[in-house]
Amino acid sequence: MIKKLTCIECPKGCQLEVETDGSHVIRVTGNQCEKGVTYAQQEIEDPRRILTSTILTKGLAVKMLPVRTSVPIPKAKLKEAMDEVKKIRLSGPVEAGTVILRDLLDTGADLIATRRAG
């Protein structure tokens, strides 16, 4: 079975043709670098995305603090993760990289601040 994917690892956006047996990758063509192969395997077997959003702060100079997951999380959990992110209220100062929430929804990903807020 051949599946067409757009590699999202970099702005080139290689058009990949991925040969699979339904659940595993057999061969990838169309990639300009090794990242394309890794991406195709991940995308076919367990698609994941970095989630970025904002959280509401209280008493800080920045009203909305931008946050990201430290590593990609399962695509199917994006919405549920957003619901968790929306519950958070931050009142203490943070630096870019400060962990806001550990192990978001048991994904192994931490939610981290991407900007300083004092």
Partner: protein, 315 residues
């Protein structure tokens, strides 16, 4: 009048890279003017990843990319940052007038770097007929409303144009619980990066109509619906919505250099060279509209170096 070796207007990615590069080339008397209350410019509202793959060999979000430069600038005495400082006048012999809280200041620069970025093209520029209700926003303004101000501008959204900001905002609205009912693009392919079509549109099964345009916007107080037309078959259909985002490109912001006597390209609003007046340099999105911030950084570092060499040549 105050005088400086180098004045830089705008502390987004271009202005920050130019300042650091000029400093490294030996210029220690730099004034960096920024109209916002923070350094970082548009990067602060670009909370999504995809920045820095070339420059830092890492996948960073906009705020993280900005943070690296902000930290460096804050540690340097020779770069004085002036926030909430809005330049209102510029002359060809490099005298700037700017407003900051409580005062109107003037400064004369030996060299000047303009890193003033872009503004968004609006509904009026693409001539969409209809009423003028609330709920029509340039996509980047909607991005600022959500990511900086924490307001969700609408619940049912149609996006006009498939530039990167529109695609990114389609995903952002969806994640925030709004329904993006269509992205309407008059061309036969996206103007944005193809990976943004994949991860912002296809990931969320948002309908993307190529070779379609908005015929009319309806609504009295608030947007109620739009009519969309297939430009080939001329068939049309309505989409009910409360919000229309306009994502149809950017225009370099060059009013100040124009005021100083620089002639701009009529079609693009770009200057015809990086140094249109000796000692006045233009970099970043004010020079030309970039796809990637990494290239803004690279080219703005060159502009900073050129300004440093110009100043040294005067001595």
């Amino acid at each position: 009048m105050e005088s400086r070796e180098l004045v830089i207007v705008g502390a987004g990615p271009a202005g920050m890279a130019a300042a650091l590069s000029a400093y490294r080339k030996g210029i220690k008397d730099i004034l960096l003017l920024e109209r916002d209350q923070y350094l970082g410019g548009i990067l602060n509202q670009c909370i999504h990843p995809g920045f820095g793959l070339h420059h830092f060999k890492e996948d960073l979000t906009g705020p993280e990319y900005a943070d690296r430069f902000i930290k460096e600038i804050e540690g340097i005495k020779g770069i004085e940052v002036s926030l909430k400082s809005f330049v209102v006048h510029l002359t060809g012999n490099k005298v700037l007038t700017y407003l900051k809280p409580g005062k109107l200041a003037e400064v004369k620069a030996k060299a000047l770097i303009m890193a003033t970025g872009c503004r968004e093209r609006t509904r009026e520029m693409v001539h969409i007929p209809g009423t003028r209700p609330a709920g029509i926003y340039p996509a980047g303004l909607a991005q600022k409303m959500i990511n900086i101000e924490g307001w969700l501008p609408g619940k049912e959204v149609v996006i006009v144009g498939s530039g990167d900001i529109g695609l990114i905002m389609a995903r952002r609205f969806t994640l925030e619980g709004a329904r993006v009912k269509a992205v309407v693009e008059i061309q036969k392919e996206s103007r944005g990066l193809i990976r943004n079509v994949a991860q912002c549109i296809e990931d969320f099964e948002i309908p993307l109509y190529f070779l379609h345009r908005i015929l009319r916007i309806y609504g009295q107080d608030r947007v109620e619906k739009v009519t969309v037309e297939n430009i080939e078959t001329k068939e049309s259909f309505d989409i009910t919505c409360d919000t229309v985002l306009i994502s149809v490109g950017l225009i370099p912001e060059n009013d100040l250099v124009e005021m100083a006597g620089v002639e701009l390209d009529k079609a693009t609003n770009c200057p015809r060279s990086v140094e249109p007046i000796p000692g006045i340099f233009i970099c970043g999105n004010a020079y030309k509209v970039y796809d990637l911030v990494d290239w803004v950084t690279r080219d703005s570092e060159k502009a900073g170096k050129m300004a440093a060499e110009y100043i040294k040549g005067l001595k």
